[in-house]
Symmetry: C2
Subunit: 607 residues, 2 copies
Amino acid sequence: MNYHIEFEPLGRRGECQSEHNMLQAARSLGVDIVNICGGVSKCGKCRVRIMEGRVSGHTDNEIRLLSKAELDSGIRLACAVYPLSNCKVFVPPESLSTPQRTQTEGRTIDITPDPPVKAYILEVSAPTLEDLMPDEERIYKTLDSQYKTKAAVMDIEAVREMPQVLRENNFKANIFLRGNEIISVKLASSRNIGLAVDIGTTKIAGYIVDMETGETLASKGIMNPQISYGEDLITRIMLIIRDQKNAEMMQKLDVDAINKITAEMCSEINAKPADITEAVIVANTCIHHLFLKLPVSQLGKAPYIPAARSPINVKARDIGLDISPGGYIHTLPNIAGFVGADHVAMLLATGMAEKNSTVLTLDIGTNTELCLVSGGKMTSVSSPSGPAFEGAHIKYGMRASDGSIERVRIDGDTVEYHTIGNKSPVGICGSGVLDSIAELYKAGIIDIKGNFREHRRIIKDNDGMLEFLLTEADSKKNIPEISITQKDIRQLQLAKGAISTAIQLLLKKHNLRDKEIDQIIIAGAFGTYIDVNSAITIGMLPDIPVDRIEQVGNAAGMGAKLALISGTKRKEAEAIAQKVEYLELATDPDFMKIFIKSSNMGWDNSR
Amino acid sequence: MNYHIEFEPLGRRGECQSEHNMLQAARSLGVDIVNICGGVSKCGKCRVRIMEGRVSGHTDNEIRLLSKAELDSGIRLACAVYPLSNCKVFVPPESLSTPQRTQTEGRTIDITPDPPVKAYILEVSAPTLEDLMPDEERIYKTLDSQYKTKAAVMDIEAVREMPQVLRENNFKANIFLRGNEIISVKLASSRNIGLAVDIGTTKIAGYIVDMETGETLASKGIMNPQISYGEDLITRIMLIIRDQKNAEMMQKLDVDAINKITAEMCSEINAKPADITEAVIVANTCIHHLFLKLPVSQLGKAPYIPAARSPINVKARDIGLDISPGGYIHTLPNIAGFVGADHVAMLLATGMAEKNSTVLTLDIGTNTELCLVSGGKMTSVSSPSGPAFEGAHIKYGMRASDGSIERVRIDGDTVEYHTIGNKSPVGICGSGVLDSIAELYKAGIIDIKGNFREHRRIIKDNDGMLEFLLTEADSKKNIPEISITQKDIRQLQLAKGAISTAIQLLLKKHNLRDKEIDQIIIAGAFGTYIDVNSAITIGMLPDIPVDRIEQVGNAAGMGAKLALISGTKRKEAEAIAQKVEYLELATDPDFMKIFIKSSNMGWDNSR
């Protein structure tokens, strides 16, 4: 007997034999789970969490190797647990031997740093019975005399660390000033480093930056562990409305994940997390609210009102972020319930507010945020493009990691493909799905409506569903059968339709036609890897010359870095958030009409 | 066989039979421990903590009735534990059936409140799909339009509570503004109440005040549980220098004690601790530092430098104080390592900075802080008067609670006394010791050096020490023998000498003579209960007409209340701390000479 098993956060899913344990099932689907003992429940490394479905009971080895808390929270050893129904299994990052491809790159910084936290090395005089001035006043006075700089307050954590730092270092110290507040008193040798983080719905990217030079010292990506509570935001919000405890758990998941990559990045550069004196966080409005422990239930229902839109400065200790105990987290402003600080960061990094031409920028994901600039006017929308690009609801879909097909070319009867890491194919990721469908359309294998015509490689699966074989199973070469089904094509049509509808409504709002777009900037991890020709072929993007289309990588992360090292950029971000007009798609009377047309292959130019 | 058992925090101590358990020992010394089962280890109410000395092992009943944490921390059932040596036993407040007398009274407030936290009732419009303004901006805007008041930031905790409060109350709320920061968004019906606390070395006094009217709504006293770590500050500091964990435990003890009385006061006035939007804390510098989790080890060695002197505003959540999560704690400024915010509060409450005449004020305790004002100059000192006034190191000494002798009159062979609560005498508290020795001196039973002459009531105890019988044992009337020993007299001479030396050095500093003092203000719990004539008789105070001496009760607590309800008073307190000149007794060359003379009975006028 077979069960359908889905492995998260990779999104890899497929039929597995019921007599196989979860470790074997994972392997058969190309999910590489850490395992040292050879699958005999000795090493305890192959921890997974059963999210959905019935499974076999605990073995003695599991009870011995797992803590009470782990057992209670559904953690199992993959090698010891057998499915008793279809299942959804979460594989935590530490159990995954092949890391997920996350994107931390981005353009290099070419601005002059103007960091909100400044460091001053001070040498104060030691107190005596004749000079009883308290440490705090000594620091204020010397800062003023030595640097002509006045501080007004000292964070309680700085007051706490100050006496020992002074007494153990001959009354010499490095004073960290933020505005008029002394936030930290550290050794004179300490550096002025900051943390920038882009928390996406699916992935988290972190950067440690030298705030004096702007240099990125380390960067690291990790999956957003909240994904075990749902791939999209609405699912997460619904879980919170059902039980407020889920909000606390999701908040802790993200903070723990950020603390983890921060510690890892610090150890790479020989620093401690407590050396970081400032953090900038960007995220969409929902993730932003969750991270700050703000309520999100009002984001789950119309009119989708954020609790706060303005930039927030909050002590890192109030959030649980392990940086300098007196340090702040700064969040960039939000725009609306579904256009958040990550969008503002992207607009900041791409310099959208300064464009004199007509520029469209978009960050493609489960929600795609778009902004059109023209004639000094900026308009943003959020479009529910769905998780198809993440490989979800695609028969052989998976997220971008080793072995996923990311490029496809169809030439007559031949299919050429490329997998990430040049590994044997195990599934197909978003850019591979996009390529496949564009190639199917170009080759005439599907029509403008997305319906299959006839082809040697088209077969019917067990449910009678038509599918196009990208690979033909070859057990000697370790190649499984991987196909694109009629349903997969429908999923992509919905996604591409959502995006092209948003673009058309933006053009309509600005009274422009598609040919008038001077430039398209594609930001975000997914956008970096797609073939823009394929995107134009299926009509996800308007048909403009490809040399006017730029793929800029993680612009939101770049925006976070800019805001980290520059007070000027923070002001710019605030101005952007004020300037952008938010367009609510649902209130446009043409929305449905355009959306239905937009699901066709190719760009619809009829408006 | 007998052991010497001391019960803290009452300070009651004496010889107990080794075959008596601690419950019986406590009873024999007049310490009333809660007990329901009749001492057979069934009710588990008579919990005590063994601080010093060897005792019998755990009984099965104790292991059953006490938690692991309690057993680990030395908690025992008094009825089940027997002394195997001299012992020191701590009786927690909940095990004490007779409450300790703590002082929470003080003069009534007669200023116009000008509270740093102001409440504004707002009614904002509800958002719609056409009006997507976030909650935060809605509040800012309405506050401005309705009250012409601009807020600049909103505490993250206020942002957290805001969406629900608005949505559950038709978008009506009470906004609490502190400076330009919105610290809380509460129901429109909520009051604007604050908490003032005076944390003494021995006692804590708390007050809940209506910040709009200045009315004290509730007040409560409790022993400072830190006393289980040492009666005086230096002992506590030394324990911390030995192990930093002790600082955390002491901090938690005080915060827990304050949270406890705050909850009790709140339930009296039908409020919740979370309704309190601001707290003002005053304490001596060491307790202040401990409370704020600031390091204290540098306070334990010359030159005794505070980490901070200026007033501190810190979020209550950073300290663990259970008030409104966005609320602040404000601490008044310190002056020096041993002249703290409680002294500033006393100076504020007694209006010392505005005096045009020559005024001496003092707060008598283990450390006595004094301030002399004359000709626009203010000078403060701290004098180590020791714990004799708390009943420590006095043979029958105890703190002021039911059954302690607080007033004594000697007329020939007759001794008249009065006990607190008119109970049978069990010991003698500070004011009783002071009275006794003044009466002994007036009656000629001791000479100017404090030596006993001859008297019918003078006997020799087992160690050959002379003692004067205040009571004669009478088992029918339930009266034990209580006496004043030669050693007790020496202890008081040290204490009174420390205070009169400080007064004389203050007078010397101002170039004044004792007769030039226009007014003496005695503040503090102990000072309230002493007979000033007795204080003059033994020479603790200079011999000025008693109508120029005023006993004002807990002026430090009053000062805390003033600072709670008035920004103007906070500025005054800061000006006072800046204006006061601190006099370090140890650096005065005449200190030892004057101190030796000052131990004689009567005021020494020879300087």
